[in-house]
């Protein structure tokens, strides 16, 4: 029952988040969601085993939960408020970290790139912060071009929250990364290899 429920929640949250970001033209979230969907369709690491007990906590906490929060915030028409802004940045960084982890795990699985779990998580955290920062630069530049009145301090506080919550997300994921049998996940099935 729970397994079916989890799988349903997993797919509904992605679909709903996709609809929201398309309707709101939210390029950053759209990129994250398309990355996730690509991974699901490509049956890349983790996604083909969503019910596996070790994967349920990270997938719930770092993907289904942030996607649900994102949809919920859109539905209630959230825009302002310090607490909600910080909470939104935390969930955005959690899902960004997961996307970066997937990209690195895919590279590990498909190429000769190799790192142990500490380095994978460390590099994914740095990559998530860099990716979110890059989008902050781009969106701020876009707003400036459109004549919006923005201050330097606003952007700097956004970057500081991206850095802080990026590190928090990395620390939160550490326990799961350590417990996760990622070598097993990364192993290419012999049958799969023969078919390839």
């Amino acid at each position: 029952m729970w397994r079916d429920g989890f799988r349903a929640w997993f797919y509904i949250s992605i679909s709903a988040a996709l609809l929201v970001s398309i309707s709101a033209i939210d390029i950053y979230w759209l990129m994250i969601e398309i990355g996730m969907v690509t991974a699901i369709l490509g049956r890349y690491p983790l996604y083909d085993q969503v019910e596996q007990p070790d994967l349920q906590r990270p997938l719930t906490l770092f993907m289904v939960f942030p996607f649900s929060i994102y949809v919920l915030m859109h539905l209630i028409g959230y825009r302002d408020g310090l607490f909600l802004t910080l909470f939104s940045t935390l969930t955005t960084m959690m899902v960004t970290l997961l996307l970066c982890l997937f990209v690195i795990l895919i590279l590990e699985k498909q190429t000769e790139f190799h790192m142990n779990y500490r380095f994978i998580l460390g590099f994914a955290t740095v990559a998530a912060i860099s990716l979110a920062s890059l989008f902050t630069f781009l969106s701020t530049s876009y707003d400036l071009i459109n004549g919006e009145d923005l201050s330097n301090a606003d952007m700097m506080w956004t970057l500081i929250s991206v850095l802080f919550f990026g590190i928090v997300s990395g620390v939160l994921f550490k326990r799961d990364m350590r417990r996760m049998d990622y070598i097993e996940i990364l192993m290419i099935d012999q049958q799969e290899e023969d078919q390839g």
């Binding site: 630069f137 923005l150 330097n152 301090a153 952007m155 700097m156």
Partner: protein, 208 residues
């Protein structure tokens, strides 16, 4: 451990320049550029000390690159070029961020060569250099912002100036990536391959 003559030469030049610029700035009552110059001199002593301790023999071109980055920054502070020459800030950001990208690439290369837990294929270097360049650029801007908020150093002029710096940092990363692809990973003089010295390699093997 014996230090190469080139390393000693870079040390002498950088310490000399640092002391001259620092003394000049302090004599005119400019404490911040003066302290910056002395700090630069301290940083430039690191390659010599690391080589003397037998840990890292940093390639000479990287030492000159570091001398250029720190020298241009200090020169700009002492002669107030950051306030009077619009492209000075962009130039120093490009030189510094490309140096940071280079140091990150050398670090990765050392792990790749001496650790069994990390293997980085050559095509992955440019991606990782770019990721680190953006990350370090953000950390640098945060440092400037913190300085402005806490001690009113006025290092960040405006939002567009900060954005320009961030984009130039990325450009610096891109330059290092291109240089790495075109030349460094071939390591024609084997300078990169011999950067880590035996005591450090031993520690690498026990730690990683």
């Amino acid at each position: 451990m014996k230090v190469r003559r080139e390393t000693a030469g870079v040390l002498l030049i950088s310490e000399g320049l640092g002391m001259i610029m620092g003394a000049l700035a302090l004599s005119e009552g400019n404490n911040y550029p003066g302290l910056g110059a002395f700090m630069g001199g301290l940083i430039m002593a690191l390659p010599f000390l690391l080589e003397r301790m037998g840990l890292i023999r940093l390639p000479i071109f990287v030492q000159i690159w570091a001398l250029l980055a720190i020298g241009l920054h200090t020169f700009g502070l002492v002669w107030k070029l950051y306030d009077t020459t619009w492209w000075w800030d962009e130039m120093t950001h490009a030189v510094s961020s490309s140096l940071v990208g280079m140091l990150a690439a050398i670090g990765l290369y050392l792990f790749d060569m001496h650790s069994i837990k990390i293997k980085v294929p050559r095509w992955a270097y440019p991606i990782m250099i770019m990721v680190f360049s953006i990350f370090i650029g953000v950390i640098w801007e945060m440092g400037e912002f913190t300085g402005d908020v806490l001690t009113s150093t006025r290092m960040q002029y405006s939002l567009s100036d900060t954005l320009n710096d961030c984009y130039v940092d990325m450009l610096g990363g891109l330059i290092t990536s291109a240089l790495w692809i075109l030349w460094f990973w071939r390591d024609p003089t084997d300078e990169l391959g011999t950067t880590a010295l035996e005591p450090l390699i031993g520690r690498f093997k026990s730690w990683f």
